[in-house]
Symmetry: C2
Subunit: 422 residues, 2 copies
């Protein structure tokens, strides 16, 4: 039986709940550690449990960056073995049972050691909305529909879900001020993104063809690229955002594999009249199945909500397939057309995945129209940008008739007050 068959049930009861993110059809990979243990283990999420792959006798290394480098046949064989062992009726149940640990009892870390981090800009509705605010005369630049725009980011400040970070300080300049000043950011924002984890590397000087591109991708996570809009506006020309982004990013713990996402592939199309991609970004397979239908949600939980035991408000809903102008395969092909070498554990941020409607925006910059319109929250609070103590929780899931729901878990981060001055 195919690992994605919706009829499959697991002997791990919590995995069979239809609302569960981690049914036996999902089997996402992540790193966890038990209390008091300094070392990370490799696990697969199943229901409310984690399967410790080493304890289950399935791998002999705790190096996730080695595991994600597996060639696709070996990767698929491992998925098949895990799936078989966790299915109802498996003869491996006793062995696997002994390797289970409740997710609630472990710390979930970064999914792997992150190498280079590239942030793309595939959200065309986001690019248009932000472009209007930063460059009213030219919101979408002439290269946007030709070049999958991307830039390099900072890997050392990518944090695991559940982390908090200090509100950044930095240079800002008010439009009417003669000179800049150092302030704590007053326009702190989130960005709703997906994280694309590279599994198999390529050699420097050896571009990856679009139809080979997905062989190099291991899986997908949620990703929040926190942004200080006031720092960004003053610093970003001519070489792009820097300190406005590199103080913190947050990634969710579970890498959902392309194999698990298979039932949610969609044709990739462009609006009538938009240019056809250049040949290295164009293929029949990419057009037929390049997109992925992933529903996305942003939740805001203020400090007051947290104190009251309130899980937060959903402030935006979007979908990867509607938001993205480029596919995952196109990003890989573009990143390597010049011979750039990708390594196992490299992370691509998708860029902010705003849907076409204003309420589907993936940042407060858009939701508050540049800080001009307050969001009304369910407990009477309001927000334009983030306040100290606010948490942002990203969620993602795939669902359609005839397939089991595949979830991404959550990507959570909390804003602390600005650090003391140096």
């Amino acid at each position: 039986m195919d690992c994605n068959d919706p009829a499959l049930q697991s002997w791990v009861a919590s995995a069979n709940d239809p609302a569960c993110d981690f049914p036996v059809q999902n089997l996402p990979y992540g790193r966890f550690r038990r209390a008091g243990d300094p070392d990370w283990c490799i696990g697969v999420a199943i229901g409310e449990q984690v399967l410790d792959l080493r304890r289950a006798g399935l791998i002999d290394s705790s190096d996730m960056n080695r595991l994600i480098r597996l060639a696709p046949p070996a990767r698929q064989a491992l998925r098949e073995t895990i799936s078989q062992g966790l299915r109802e009726g498996s003869d491996q149940r006793a062995k696997f049972q002994a390797a289970l640990v409740p997710q609630a009892d472990v710390e979930l870390g970064l999914p792997c050691q992150i190498g280079d981090y590239t942030d793309f800009y595939v959200g065309i509705h986001h690019a248009l909305a932000v472009g209007k605010q930063f460059r009213p005369d030219a919101p979408l630049l002439p290269n946007y529909k030709w070049v999958p725009i991307g830039y390099h980011g900072r890997a050392s400040t990518i944090n695991a879900s559940g982390s908090s970070f200090h509100r950044p300080r930095g240079q800002t300049k008010a439009p009417d001020a003669a000179e800049p000043a150092v302030t704590a950011s007053a326009r702190l924002d989130f960005e709703l993104e997906l994280g694309i984890l590279i599994g198999r590397p390529n050699s420097q000087g050896a571009p990856i063809a679009i139809d080979d591109a997905e062989q190099h991708v291991f899986g997908i996570t949620l990703f929040n690229d926190w942004s200080a809009r006031d720092l960004q506006g003053w610093e970003y020309q001519p070489l792009g955002p820097f300190l406005s982004k590199n103080f913190a990013s947050t990634v969710s713990p579970w890498m959902v594999t392309l194999e698990a996402l298979e039932p949610f592939r969609k044709p990739w199309t462009r609006p009538e009249g938009d240019p056809r991609p250049l040949p290295y970004l164009d293929s029949q397979s990419n057009s037929e199945r390049g997109a992925i239908d992933i529903g996305l949600e942003v939740w805001l939980q203020t400090a007051r909500m947290a104190q009251a035991g309130h899980a937060g408000d959903c402030i935006s809903r979007s979908n990867f397939a509607d938001a993205a102008y480029w596919t995952v395969a196109q990003l890989v092909a573009h990143h390597t057309i010049n011979g750039c070498a990708l390594a196992s554990g490299d992370l691509f941020g998708s860029g902010t995945l705003s849907g076409p409607e204003p309420q589907q925006a993936g940042s407060l910059l858009e939701l508050s129209v540049g800080g001009k319109q307050s969001l009304q929250l369910s407990n009477g609070e309001t927000r334009t940008f983030l306040q100290d103590g606010d948490s942002i929780i990203l969620r993602g899931f795939c669902q359609r008739a005839g397939a089991r729901r595949i979830g991404f878990g959550e990507c959570r981060g909390t804003v602390l007050p600005a650090h003391p001055e140096a």
Copy 2:
């Protein structure tokens, strides 16, 4: 006797040649390996030799990223021990002698494992000259004299000196073309930079004060940030250069320590009328000694020159202190003002270090005035941008009356023809 005392001589005869880059006053750190050995060793250059620190009994690990993390007192003690042992008359001579290997017999690698790579833009003469070509109406943007402009680069394609790389392909768009096309870059360039290697890390959320900044810097190398100007012009807005830079960079093997550069510190000043830096970028110590007097040279050796045994032409001469608008300490303080975490082995590129005169430019974009004026080479060839088979060799050295000359060795890279299409 102080390790920088110009009167010090070494029992390694080649180190006493006044033209030598590596006298006993220098002692730069690098990684090397012997033929057939897959593992890198830590060495210190002395004359034409390398001292294998492990064989000399001075360290017990081959992990350079651990060594560069040493606290300054331990780092200085190690420098003192190495200096004592290599001096004329040392009682350690026999032990050290057994740990020497000729540089000509080993492969020199990357000086350490590079973490995150940030490229700055401190060369104000470069910023002005390039700004005139990309944005004639606004060559120097309003933030330049306030913000030490920087952006993130790609670590995975930073190559050791001596490497060659394929000319990149990518999207370019001629000014009169209706649409872009994929071509091999026809405007391939070098950038004369220094590389600044971070030794001691800081924690996320903990900015580094300007007067503590140099405690976090281990040493300085030469650095060539190869650039494809035609790719750059089409892709760089709005998020900065990406594929036009990340196909290859080259770093020299030897990290010259701040201790060795001590005799070449200079006051840091700004032209009359320029703004005083914001407080986090300003200190008495930075003003009194923030600059470093490092002479720089760019040599071009064409394939035809190499065949004829011709070492190449010097096509530019510049100086770090004249070219840089910001100091090393200011870059560290700026990079962390927002709480960004630096790690051991992070590399800062200085940005292109063009001097104030046209012939002191640190790129062909400047030397050829955007490709409009050919350089005449001594063998009758001409260049606007780089041709296949061209090598660029960067050299650097400090010299002044009353101090021994301190050299950086060389940073060499060679252009191969474009890779086959994917």
